[in-house]
Structures are given as structure tokens and as C-alpha cells.
């Protein structure tokens, strides 16, 4: 089962290295890790997905919390949350018939074509990982030339807490 952890960390050099070093050191197996800016200028946010059959998510959270630059770690797997994965998928389009067919599929998945080339086009898809997986499955027979996915980012619904301020 997949568990999703949110870690708010200080935005300063070396913090990602500390987190990655911890995973290696403790032999934690991580499915995905995304890092980005937050609403606070000096705070970054990591979304970490752990396969709990292989790595104990609670151990990951406890050890992350021990890093001095990690402000607060929260396991949001059981909370109502919005999770998103963004994918850019470059697909082969040898002829106009294929292109039309692709457009229709993209429409159905509420994805977008963001670039059209002579023999390829790029699809941008945003959604849950399952939805993006579904689109990838359907596109694969057309010939996927290149693909990049961000990995999961997540946010708890409602008035969020977890700011790491002293209670």
C-alpha cells in the first residue's frame, strides 16, 4: 500500500541532500519524491510516496523529523486530500488520421496537446496517478517517444494545518 508523506523543510542548500542521504542510510525505499516552493519564501515542501509493504512509512516520518532542517512531517494517507501527478508525453503521429484519433483520446482524458510537431505531439496531463497511468496505457500503442512525470504532489482538503509553528 502506498503512503503519502508531506514534509515542510527549510529552503536552504543541502537539505535535499540530507533527506536523500537519510533514505540511503536507513535503506528506505522511496516510490517518488517531489520538492517545490511553498507559500512561505523560506520553506520548501516535499511530497514523499512510500510503498509500505517495503518500507515503514512511520519510520520514514520519524527519521525525517529528526533532521534539524525538517520542520514538520505528516502522513496524509488517511486524510481527505487532493493528489496530482503531471505528465508530459511525446507521442508519434505518422499521419493525420492518427493525429485526429489522438486528439479525441486526449479530449476524453481532459488532457491537453501542448505542442504539435511534424511527426510527434506532446500531451500534458494532470490528474491522479491512476488517471495519468490510464492515459499512458491508451497512448502506448501509438508509440510513446518520451515521457516525464513529476511524481505525486498532495494537499489536504479544507483549512490546512501543519505549518510547523510552535503550538
Amino acid at each position: 500500500m502506498k503512503r503519502t508523506l508531506i514534509a515542510r523543510v527549510e529552503d536552504r542548500p543541502g537539505v535535499l541532500n540530507r533527506v536523500a542521504s537519510l533514505f540511503r542510510r536507513r535503506a528506505f525505499n522511496i516510490e517518488s519524491l517531489t520538492v517545490g516552493h511553498t507559500e512561505e519564501s523560506d520553506v520548501s515542501r516535499m511530497t514523499i510516496v512510500v510503498d509500505s509493504t517495503r518500507t515503514d512509512a512511520e519510520k520514514v516520518a520519524q527519521n525525517l523529523q529528526k533532521l534539524v532542517n525538517v520542520i514538520r512531517v505528516e502522513d496524509i494517507s488517511d486524510a481527505p486530500a487532493v493528489t496530482r501527478d503531471v505528465a508530459l508525453i511525446k507521442v508519434e503521429t505518422p499521419d493525420s488520421r492518427t493525429r485526429a484519433e489522438l486528439m479525441q483520446i486526449v479530449e476524453t482524458f481532459r488532457a491537453r496537446v501542448v505542442d504539435v510537431g511534424v511527426e510527434t505531439l506532446i500531451v500534458e496531463a494532470t490528474g491522479t496517478e491512476e488517471k495519468v497511468d490510464g492515459l499512458v496505457d491508451v497512448l502506448r500503442p501509438f508509440g510513446i517517444v518520451e515521457m516525464v512525470r513529476t511524481g505525486r504532489v498532495a494537499m489536504v482538503r479544507g483549512k490546512s494545518v501543519n505549518k510547523g509553528e510552535d503550538e
Binding site: 542510510r25 523529523q65 533532521l67 534539524v68 520542520i71 514538520r72 510547523g164 509553528e165
Partner: protein
């Protein structure tokens, strides 16, 4: 007030209450060394940076204060690594300050450049590369805070040469360190877990308290004693837990684990409840995990949440400061008299004494290290600070010197660092100048940091060195004797004449090879005001040359190899 980075270092060390630092100067740190004498902080010049880290560690363990080690960049910094890892494994609060090449040169493979913050990332609690002299004072303040708050540990500050030279307006940081992430550790309310723990304790017939290093670090010895007496539970200690509960107390059960006391291991295997306090179920403590304490429910109290349920799945995990948790527990548990359990355990004690303890009165035996340790204990009335190296002599020191007070047994537990003993003893003696410090070392480990004999002399430290000289890397040899067909592969040591060697350093030294000589050598050493080395030439193999009992690797705790029946010498 405008100061250089170098001056700020000493201002801040003074501000943090530092009286002594251990180190060696070098190219990238000499700028910091230059103004030291103006600040009245003592510098102990070691002979190898590993010695600086171990000495800082020994100082910290003996004093309860933060120990400080200083080294230059590159090889100076990498030489600290073993000492830092040792402090990390045993949660010892030290701050290491390393010189670094000037900021513009970082990353260019400059002379004596090494990425010491990268190297020490997994073996420090935290580390810093200071790039702006304006940050220096607050970084040092934060480093000292981190080293000794929460679960203690080593912190390293890497200081580029240009930062040492640059000037900044110095304002001593007065405000409290504010680290939201670090402060978060321990904010969960443990009262629910403590309530459940109390219920388990009340319903237990055969409890055992497991006391680790955390007890003395939390200064919880007093409340622990009251707690153990209230619930009438025997108390087993880990290697680093020694002194956390007095060995002379009626409820004391001895040491647990691989070379622990048989009655302690048996009690753990027969217990219906383990109450683990500030210990971490190290593999040397549990033996075969799948058969560890099979009848016992388990309560684990620790300050570090990551230790809870790490090795042993427990019934109640209490994430709390030990002193607070025990004070809360005392008021919740019923006063009990568990006479039946006490009597059972007492029976095991008597059996252990007869089997495992080398008979101290048999004068016909050759000299063994247990005899030596026991003689030191008798002569010092159990009141010395005992520092050890790692190996057989370490286990014998743990088994035969009984500790009633905390911070009196200083040893490398988690990392098992040979070479720790002598430099750690230097730190301990400097921390406690009036205490009698005995360092028990093997002939293998002593030679890993033997150069620190010069430091002992230069600093005029009256350390008494008890050398367990058996001509082997003894613990490895013991395993070879027991499990590798007596194939003593690469463990035989051709040693120097340790007496002459010590004398060459200016240390009084002599040999002892039988029990009478050993006893008089110990008395003589104690009368000598300066440092002494006694070369105890002890039995090398067999009954008197091996540490018993022993839980072999892969065995359960109760499957101990016991001392074989004594063989008479000379027959």
C-alpha cells in the same frame, strides 16, 4: 564590536561555557588558533585528530558538558571521523570545529580540501558549512544547543579560512535557539501511553526493567530507583546503562546481552513484562530477535521516537523524557511485593556466581584480566572512573568492576571503537581532575592510539593505564578458538616492550604476571602521583582467557556458553 571570525569562535566558546578544547592546528585552522590565549580557554594538543574527537567525547561523558574538538581541513577533518561516528552511536554531545579551504576554493580540489560536511552527514546529528561570518556566532550557539538538547550527539562546524579572517560585528546571541523542527520532537502528549504502561506493570508477575544509557543522560537515576523499588522489579542494565542503577542495590540484576550476566539474560527470557528505559534493543543486547523475551509484553520509553518499534515491536511505546515519564508512572502504579519472582531470580544469581565468576580466592590460577579488574575495584573501593577500549578487557571491566554511580564507566558501546580508551581517558581526567581515572585497554587497541601517551605526559595527567596484554587481538581470537577451529588467523601480535615504550614517553611502567604482583602493582600505581602503565601479562586462551558467559551470534539470550569447568594449572 568588530571581531574576526577567529575571535568570534573563541568569544562564542567562552559564551557557551567551554573551558577546554582538544585539537591539532594546521594550515586551514591556524588563523582560528592564533588569538586563543587571549580567551583563557585551555587547549590540549593531541597527537592525532582521532584522539581529539575521543578526548572530547570522554570529556563529555565524564562531565555531562559538551566536549569540543578542533582540527584543520582535509586529513585533519577526516581523522576526526571515527571519533564522530563513535559519539553519534553513543549519543555523546560533542562539537567539532574544522578548518576549510577559503570559500572561493571550495570545490576546486584545493590543497587539503575535503567535503567534510558531506562525509559526516550520516554520522553527525547536524553539521554546518559557514559561508558568511555574520552567521558564525548564531551557528556556534545553535551547534551547542543541538549537541546537548533532545537526544545528544555530535555537531560539526566547517569553517572556511576566509570566514575565520573576515570581520563582523559581534553580538553574543542571547535569544533562545528557535528550531521549529527540532522543538517539535517530543511535543506529543504521552499520558495515554503512560496510563496503558501502568496497567501492564500492575498486571505483571515477572517484570524486568531494562536500563540503558538514556537513564543517566536524563538524570533519571533517582526516580528510577524509587520506581524499581515501588514495583519491586529486578533491573538489568546495558553496557552503557551501567551506573544508571546502583550495582550494589538488591534489585540489581547485572548486565544483559552477549556477555551479560546469565541471571539477567535468563530473567529477560522468562519475564512476562519488559520495561525498556532509554535503550535501543541493540543486536548485542537481544540475541536472536525471533526468540527474544518470548513470554514478555513490552513497554519502551525513549526520547527518540525513531527508536520506538525500530527493532522490537512493543505493546506500549512511550515517547517522552525518561525522568518525566518515570515520575508520572510512579504515581500510577501500585506498590507491589513480587517475592516469588525475586526469589527465582536470586536462585539464578547464585548459580551464575558459582559458574561464571572466576574464583577470586584461587591463588593457584595464572593471572587473568578478571583478577586484575577485581583487584582494581577492591583497591579503589569501586570509586574510580573506568574508561575502556574495546574487546575482551572491555567486557571484563563491565563484568567485574561494579558501578554504583552514573558517568563512571566510559566505553565505546555502539560503534565498538578500538583506540577509544586512552584518548577518552584523557578527556575524562581533564573533566574530573580530582577523580581517579583508570583506563583498561588491550594490547591491540592501545596501539591504535598509543601516540596519545605523549599527550598524557604533556598535560601531566595522572591516568592509570591497565594494559590487558595477552599477545592477541583477544576477542577475535576467542571467536576463532570457539567457532573457527582455533585457527588464529592474523590475530597474534608481536608487541613492543610496553614498559620500555611507556618509559620512553616518560611514564612510569612495570609488568605484573601473577596475582600478587598485580595487586601490589595496582597499589603502587595508585600511590604514584603521575601517570602509570601496568603491563598485565594475562592468560591467553581457554577458561581464563575467554569472556563468559557468551551468547553466540544467532543464538537466543538463554543459550549462553558458560564457563567450562576450571582446569588446574600445572597438572
Amino acid at each position: 564590536m568588530m571581531l574576526t571570525g577567529a575571535q568570534i569562535v573563541w568569544e562564542m566558546l567562552h559564551h557557551e561555557g567551554v573551558e577546554v578544547v582538544f585539537g591539532i592546528p594546521g594550515g586551514a585552522i591556524m588563523h582560528t588558533y592564533h588569538p586563543r590565549s587571549e580567551y583563557g580557554i585551555r587547549h590540549v594538543l593531541v597527537r592525532h585528530e582521532q584522539g581529539a574527537a575521543h578526548a572530547a567525547d570522554g570529556y563529555a561523558r565524564a562531565s555531562g558538558k559538551v566536549g569540543v574538538a578542533i582540527a584543520t581541513s582535509g586529513p585533519g577533518a577526516t581523522n576526526l571521523v571515527t571519533g564522530i561516528a563513535t559519539a553519534m552511536m553513543d549519543s555523546s554531545p560533542i562539537v567539532c570545529i574544522t578548518g576549510q579551504v577559503a570559500s572561493p576554493l571550495i570545490g576546486t580540489d584545493a590543497f587539503q580540501e575535503t567535503d567534510i560536511t558531506g562525509i559526516t552527514l550520516p554520522i553527525t546529528k547536524h553539521n554546518y558549512l559557514v559561508t558568511d561570518v555574520d552567521d558564525l556566532a548564531s551557528v556556534i550557539h545553535e551547534a551547542f544547543y543541538l549537541a546537548c538538547h533532545g537526544r545528544p550527539g555530535p555537531v560539526l562546524i566547517d569553517l572556511p579560512k576566509d570566514v575565520q579572517q573576515a570581520q563582523a560585528e559581534f553580538v553574543p546571541p542571547v535569544e533562545e535557539v528557535r528550531l521549529p523542527g527540532h522543538a517539535y520532537i517530543g511535543v506529543t502528549d504521552p499520558s495515554d501511553a503512560i496510563g496503558r504502561a501502568a496497567e501492564l506493570i500492575d498486571s505483571s508477575a515477572r517484570p524486568v526493567l531494562l536500563v540503558g544509557h538514556g537513564v543517566s543522560m536524563a538524570e533519571a537515576e533517582g526516580v528510577l530507583r524509587g520506581f524499581a523499588e515501588r514495583i519491586d522489579s529486578p533491573v538489568a542494565v546495558t553496557l552503557l546503562g551501567k551506573g544508571g542503577f546502583p550495582a550494589s542495590h538488591a534489585l540489581y540484576l547485572g548486565m544483559m546481552g552477549m556477555h551479560g550476566d546469565a541471571q539477567a539474560n535468563r530473567a529477560i527470557q522468562e519475564a512476562d513484562l519488559l520495561i525498556a528505559l532509554g535503550m535501543r534493543f541493540d543486536d548485542r543486547v537481544t540475541g536472536d530477535l525471533s526468540r527474544y523475551a518470548p513470554h514478555a509484553r513490552k513497554i519502551h520509553v525513549d526520547l527518540d521516537a525513531a527508536e520506538l518499534n525500530k527493532i522490537v515491536a512493543v505493546d506500549v511505546a512511550v515517547h517522552a523524557d525518561l525522568r518525566r515519564a518515570l515520575s508520572d508512572l510512579i504515581s500510577l502504579v501500585n506498590k507491589r511485593d513480587r517475592e516469588e519472582w525475586r526469589e527465582t531470580v536470586r536462585g539464578w544469581w547464585d548459580e551464575s556466581r558459582a559458574v561464571d565468576v572466576i574464583n577470586q580466592h584461587r591463588k593457584d590460577m595464572e593471572l587473568t584480566m578478571p583478577h586484575v579488574i577485581d583487584a582494581i575495584r577492591q583497591s579503589t573501593h569501586g570509586e574510580a572512573i573506568v574508561v575502556t577500549d574495546v574487546g575482551q578487557h572491555q567486557m571484563w571491566a563491565a563484568q567485574y568492576y561494579r558501578f554504583d554511580r552514573p558517568n563512571a564507566f566510559i566505553t565505546s558501546g555502539g560503534l565498538g571503537t578500538m583506540g577509544f580508551g586512552l584518548p577518552a581517558a584523557i578527556g575524562a581526567q581533564i573533566a574530573r581532575p580530582d577523580a581517579e581515572v583508570w583506563v583498561v585497554v588491550g594490547d591491540g587497541g592501545l596501539q591504535m592510539t598509543i601516540q596519545e601517551l605523549a599527550t598524557v605526559v604533556q598535560e601531566q595527567l595522572p591516568i592509570k593505564i591497565a594494559l590487558c596484554d595477552n599477545g592477541y587481538l583477544g576477542m577475535v581470537r576467542q571467536w576463532q578458538e570457539m567457532f573457527y577451529d582455533k585457527n588464529y588467523e592474523s590475530t597474534r601480535l608481536v608487541n613492543p616492550d610496553f614498559v620500555k615504550l611507556a618509559e620512553a614517553y616518560g611514564i612510569r611502567a612495570w609488568c605484573a604476571s601473577d596475582q600478587d604482583q598485580a595487586e601490589s602493582a595496582i597499589d603502587e600505581a595508585r600511590e604514584h602521583p603521575g601517570p602509570v602503565l601496568i603491563d598485565f601479562q594475562v592468560v591467553r586462551e581457554g577458561e581464563g582467557g575467554n569472556v563468559y558467559p557468551m551468547v553466540p551470534s544467532g543464538a537466543a539470550l538463554h543459550e549462553m556458553i558458560r564457563r567450562p569447568l576450571p582446569t588446574k594449572v600445572g597438572t
